[in-house]
Amino acid sequence: MHSFQVDLRGIVDLLSKHLYSGPQVYVRELLQNAVDAIVARQQGDPTHEGRVEFEVTNRESGPPVLAVHDNGIGLTEEEVHQFLATIGRSSKRESVSREDFIGQFGIGLLSGFLVSSEIVLVTRSIREDAKPVKWTGRSDGTYEVEILETDIAPGTQVYLVPKPGCEEFFEPGFVRRMTGHFGGFLEIPVEFRAGDEAELVNEAPPWRWPERNPKDQRIALLEYGRSAFEIAFADAIPIETETGRIEGVAYVLPFSAGLASRQPHRVYLKNMLLSENAENLLPDWAFFVRCVLNVDELRPTASRESFHDDENLTEARDALGGCLRDYLVRVAREDRSRLDRLIALHALAIKSLALEDDEFYRLFVDWLPFETSLGTMTLREVLRHTDTIRFVTTRDQFRQISSVAAARGSCIVNAGYALDTELVERIPDVTPDRRIERVDVSELSQEFDELTMAEREGTLEFSRLVDVVLQPYQCAGDLKRFLPRELPALYTTNAEADFLRTVDQSKESAPDLFAGILDNVASDSLTSAYARLCLNYDNPLVQRLSRVQDRELARRGIEMLYVQSLLLGHFPLRAREMLLLNEGLAALIELALPDTPSDDGKAGE
């Protein structure tokens, strides 16, 4: 009896913790070994018909036995010792790599110890003088190698018996399901046997279906997608690339997926299932599709559950992106209603791609929807309203001015959504004959109508008072005419003024230590940050206020209009603005009350 240098349990532990996603992969590993052996034999003998068999035998006395048989190349006694050495070598490294056929075989076989404490291997090489070899290995590291005298056909048989607690992994139903799950698309026949029943687990994957006309093909693919993912997809895009030799289907999701979402793609490597959750194979913007793909020429990682991040993968990813992009371009050219539906569902993905690909951008930018002060419309429609595309960069700013803009029939684009700002800012780069203009909301009042010379002279005192009243709140005042008339005042800020406001608020709440720090952090980024309150001379209340003789009353009125504008604009009040509101309201109520006394006999103080 021989022994490895090391306890196999340690390696198996390493594999199960760092390499494999779960014990069920043992089925895949054994299947992969069988397939590799057959492929190796076919290299010397192209006419050889390979076959793999998985058989579960339930025994009266004792646990079930799983036998995996292949008629592949088999191993000689020397090769058996080689793979044992590989196992010994693997224990000394922290990472596992599969250098060659024998090495891969050994690592694959090790996975059997995830579910079994003893593995028996009976193998006979195709070499003429080879004798059958029987290897029995145990997870405690002991093993035996025996040369058998009886002759058997070339190939390999592996026998496993579940260790306590792992019986479920040997249930016939489980093994049948797993062989189909991992190996269902293999071209080599894989037969599953239990008791009297025997069946082939193979089925034809979409990329090996017989040729059909595109319409029927699409229907068949969608039906397959429904059964594979339980989703009624919006479309099925056949995929084929040179790099990596990839083929398969990309299914368009029937619902919108978020910009940060990752779709679980089902990926096969040389027709064996590699992963149901492959990452890094598709570009970031391709989150609107879910794929079933077979890859022939990319390197898997050691766990064989994703792809090695190298030049080939990058190229393959680009090629896949190209397929999806070509599909979108085709739809844009041939089927406008499908394009509209696609854009409605997947605007974010399409915008994302547009930002990475100038040509695609040029093609699609006109059809992309944007929110504007005159309603949601495409860029093409926006250009019907205006020559220059005017936009704001935050939704907050949009809210401040959209009603005023709408009342004037002015079209302003709300670019305050993910990707929209970037998209709008690139318009002149990609279509140089178009102009864009970023609207500084705090400057908006410059567009309003000026008062006449006479009106300005008449309201000079009032304007000065407005400035004095607003100055402590870092706000400048304006007197203009604008629509809608019902709006007495409009408070607008820019990003810097907004930030200053949050700094003030934070200082009001923060521990003393932070007061100085916050000012210093803010001062690094701010230059001047004045907000604007634009009073509307078209509004009757403002007109009357401007003529009031009582300076105190006028001041109160201005203060209240200021606070009202803050509230209407959803700006949270700073402590002194809160105070202003309280005192101002109280004062106005006082003024409105007739001379009714309070408890202490005073009236109208």
Binding site: I436, V503, L518, H570
Partner: protein, 362 residues
């Protein structure tokens, strides 16, 4: 104003990657919460804002939101339920204020002390506090101090408030590189470079940090590999603008002009909107070196896709490299001067010289 709108804003923000747009949406949510007068939501929204802003390259927003949260926590006293999480983000804040040259040393130190005090009260050990003092010293160019603080940090055991192994490994390697100990730095970073340690931010910055050292060690193929893989990790993450700067400088060193110019174009917008001065520094320094060298090679007009706000005369989208170099030079020198003045040394000025030597192919 309604709590529906608040919920809607939070939901929408979670659909986005961590970038300034998401920060802006969360700031809206903060305003909604404040308008509702609901302190619990005001806290919740700011808490999320701190997280997102920190990873979106908006440290200034994070600090401001954090100040409010800390005050809220103090006011709540024993009723406060989120202390571990808040202290965790305090680590980021206390390590990021050093980013702002207008914040004097004294204030940085008092924040460190405050953090230390709170850790002690809550029963956490000193490791996070030791690390922050170490990393602030490193960031301010106090290399001797950093070296002396290093051992105590690393030998204090980890508890639930300590950074993970990947962060510590990557950080420690930076000290070696700053000291010019390239081989030791690479060795130290090995677990990260070999993929055995990783976390949310590692190896994103690590791969960028090893580029210059690997070139100095003449391990050029490895440098290329890390540049290719590392850039992919940071290309869409604004908090890593400084690492992008390291990639850019590497491309300048290799004289890959087209790739370098494209990288500059892609990220200049980040730099212009960034309010994190020392994060901008590496990027704008690299940009300056790039356009300086392009100017040396014949100051031809180049067509550049840069944001409208760039305050340079443009001729139909074409710029002269010397002008861009000049603009970046002014900004970088100003920043270096302010950072050095606050730090009381010449670390940033020396970095400019070092970058220039590297950019010229040394």
């Amino acid at each position: 104003m309604s709590s529906d709108r608040y919920d809607e804003l939070l939901r929408e923000s979670r659909n986005l990657p961590e970038n300034p747009v998401r920060v802006a949406i969360l700031e809206e949510a903060v305003r909604e919460a404040d308008s509702l007068g609901d302190e619990r939501r005001s806290y919740e929204a700011r808490r999320e804002l701190i997280n997102v802003a920190t990873f979106a390259g908006c440290d200034d927003r994070a600090v401001v939101a954090f100040g409010w949260c800390l005050g809220y926590a103090d006011r709540q006293g024993d009723d406060f339920h989120d202390l571990h999480s808040l202290l965790w983000s305090y680590k980021w804040i206390a390590g990021n204020v050093v980013n702002f040259p207008n914040v004097p040393r004294k204030q940085i130190e008092s924040m460190e002390e405050d953090l230390g005090r709170r850790l002690e009260i809550e029963g956490y050990n000193r490791r996070p506090w030791l690390k922050i003092r170490w990393s602030n010293a490193l960031d301010m160019g106090d290399l001797d101090r950093a070296v002396s603080l290093c051992e105590e940090w690393l030998t204090t055991p980890r508890d639930f408030l300590s950074d993970c192994a990947a962060c510590d490994t990557s950080a420690h390697a930076r000290l070696h590189f700053a000291l010019g100990e390239d081989q030791r730095g690479i060795d130290r970073a090995a677990p990260v470079l070999e993929g055995r340690q990783s976390c949310k931010s590692v190896p994103h910055s690590t791969f960028g940090n090893v580029l210059r050292p690997l070139v100095r060690l003449d391990r050029l193929e490895e440098a290329d590999d890390f540049q290719r893989r590392g850039y992919r990790l940071v290309a869409r993450r604004q908090q890593h603008l400084d690492t992008v700067g390291k990639h850019l400088l590497y491309l300048v060193h290799l004289e890959h002009w087209d790739r370098a110019v494209r990288m500059f174009e892609r990220h200049l917008g980040w730099s212009l909107e960034s309010n994190e001065p020392s994060t901008r520094f590496d990027f704008e320094l690299a940009g300056w070196m790039l356009f300086d060298r392009l100017a040396e090679r014949g100051n031809r007009f180049r067509k550049l896709k840069v944001p409208e706000v760039l305050p340079l005369p443009k001729d139909d989208g074409r710029y002269r490299p010397a002008e861009i170099a000049g603009w970046l030079e002014a900004r970088t020198l100003d920043l270096a001067a302010r950072l050095d003045a606050r730090n009381g040394n010449e670390a940033f000025s020396r970095e400019i010289d070092s970058a220039r030597r590297f950019a010229s192919g040394a």
